[in-house]
């Protein structure tokens, strides 16, 4: 139920308002004034926001605007899940952070900034990866989940837990100049169950087919636009106003300014796929589920590669980066950028006991291995798991 305030009976005039505002203190009334005078939000909506509990998974490009605006909007309890630390290459779009937070956990840096933005809300930092082991505990504590992650295993995991625990979630994703957005697993006011992520995409793509921002690039403003649209859906859902973006997916193109809505149907078979592992989600490996439709590629961890290099094993290292994110490189690596690979295939040795491809994050190097002609697809070709990012992390230990 939404209270309608007319301009003639301004909500801030008179003691009646203060009495009925019950759980909003004087400072909050000032803080949320521009919300309180909106007929669609008003006191009822603001109290609903204060009571609401929202979990934001991912405090990166999408997560930053979502966190800032939901904190400003007065969502009473906000959980922030992200295992990563702030890096310099985050800052051009993750504007919640600055140089002084580089190296800090994003979840913790975000809480420190947001409690200054709005001291009247509860913020909880979870500097950990959301996994089948912790997702149930985390998600069950909140009313709404926001998917602001950067990988498919986590997107399917969030979907499956939200379906199992009957929570709506707002999904956003970005690639270069385009974004996608939808409110999924929502129950409408007639009690009808709406589509889920698996109804939209029943089968996941292989990671190297749908790379993330660190591989493909992204214009800095794009997560700002899509993240704010996600925050707007959260607010509408909580306040019960407007039309929730459910049963539809919105596509935005920053180059043409085209915004298109596509309607989607709930697919019960796909929904059941989400529930097939419930409640024993721990036994389900989302990583391999998201790469199972592709031929397996040999992977080598930073630890194992380090050991082999120390033992002076004959290893050829191929660096496929074009514009490196990290200045460091592995010793004696041959540099063959992905886009020049075909022309430089002859530089890849067939005699070394091991050929290890690497890049910044271990995704473009998989693409490179898949581009090798058949006679090169030897048993001794490996991908450095997690790329230089993982290698450098290991080195710091």
């Amino acid at each position: 139920m939404i209270t309608i305030w007319s301009r003639l009976c301004h909500p801030l005039r008179g003691d009646d308002f203060l009495k009925t505002a019950m759980n909003l203190n004087k400072e909050e009334i000032q803080y949320y004034h521009r919300h309180l005078i909106l007929s669609q939000i008003g006191k009822t909506g603001q109290q609903a926001l204060k009571k609401a509990k929202v979990l934001i998974v991912g405090a990166g490009g999408l997560g930053c605007p979502i966190l800032m605006y939901l904190s400003g909007a007065g969502v009473g309890r906000i959980g922030i899940v992200d295992p990563d630390k702030v890096t310099v290459s985050n800052l051009h779009r993750q504007v919640l952070y600055g140089f002084s937070q580089v190296g800090e956990f994003k979840a913790e840096a975000a809480v420190n900034r947001l409690k200054d933005l709005n001291p009247n809300i509860v913020l909880e930092a979870y500097a950990q990866r959301v996994s089948p082991e912790n997702a149930g505990d985390l998600i069950s504590q909140y009313d709404v989940v926001v998917d602001a992650t950067d990988n498919f295993p986590t997107r399917y995991l969030i979907n499956d837990f939200c379906v199992y625990l009957d929570k709506p979630f707002v999904s956003g994703s970005i690639d270069r100049f385009q974004g996608q957005l939808s409110v999924l697993n929502f129950t409408d006011n007639q009690g009808k169950k709406c589509p889920t992520y698996r109804c939209l995409f029943p089968t996941p793509p292989a990671p190297e087919i749908a790379p993330d921002c660190s591989q493909n690039g992204v214009i800095g403003v794009l997560p700002g636009i899509i993240g704010n649209l996600q925050a707007n859906e959260v607010i509408k859902m909580i306040c019960g106003v407007g039309e929730v973006l459910s049963g539809k997916v919105l596509i935005f193109d920053a180059l043409s300014n085209q915004m298109m809505l596509f309607s989607i149907q709930r697919n019960e078979q796909a929904v059941q796929q989400a529930l097939q592992n419930a409640p024993d989600f721990e036994s389900f490996d989302y990583e391999s589920f998201c790469s199972s439709n592709r031929q397996k590629i040999n992977e080598i961890s930073s630890v194992d590669l380090h050991k082999k290099l120390q033992n002076n094993e004959k290893i050829q290292l191929i660096d496929v980066r074009s514009i490196p994110e990290f200045q460091e490189e592995l010793p004696n690596a041959v540099r063959i950028p992905l886009n020049n690979l075909q022309a430089n295939i002859h530089n890849i040795s067939k005699n070394d006991s091991l050929v290890v491809f690497y890049c910044d994050h271990g995704i473009n190097s998989v693409r490179a291995i898949r581009m090798l002609p058949n006679h090169h697809k030897l048993k001794n070709v490996f991908n450095l798991t997690g790329g230089l990012a993982a290698w450098l992390k290991e080195e710091k230990k």
Binding site: D150, S173, D175, Q178, P211, D212, F262
Partner: protein, 59 residues
Amino acid sequence: MLTIQDTDNMADLKSKLIISYPDLKDYTFRMAVNQQMVEDNHLLFDNDLVAVMPPFAGG
């Protein structure tokens, strides 16, 4: 804008697209006709507007 003739349903269109764009066969994508997501057995008619939508990973 791409004009395709003699195409019956989405599965048919998909296989024709893969002939013109071989890389598509490795991709996961959904197709929409006139802004409605459809399955492979959906029939196509003259002047239908078809959109191809891959999932995005980035966040």
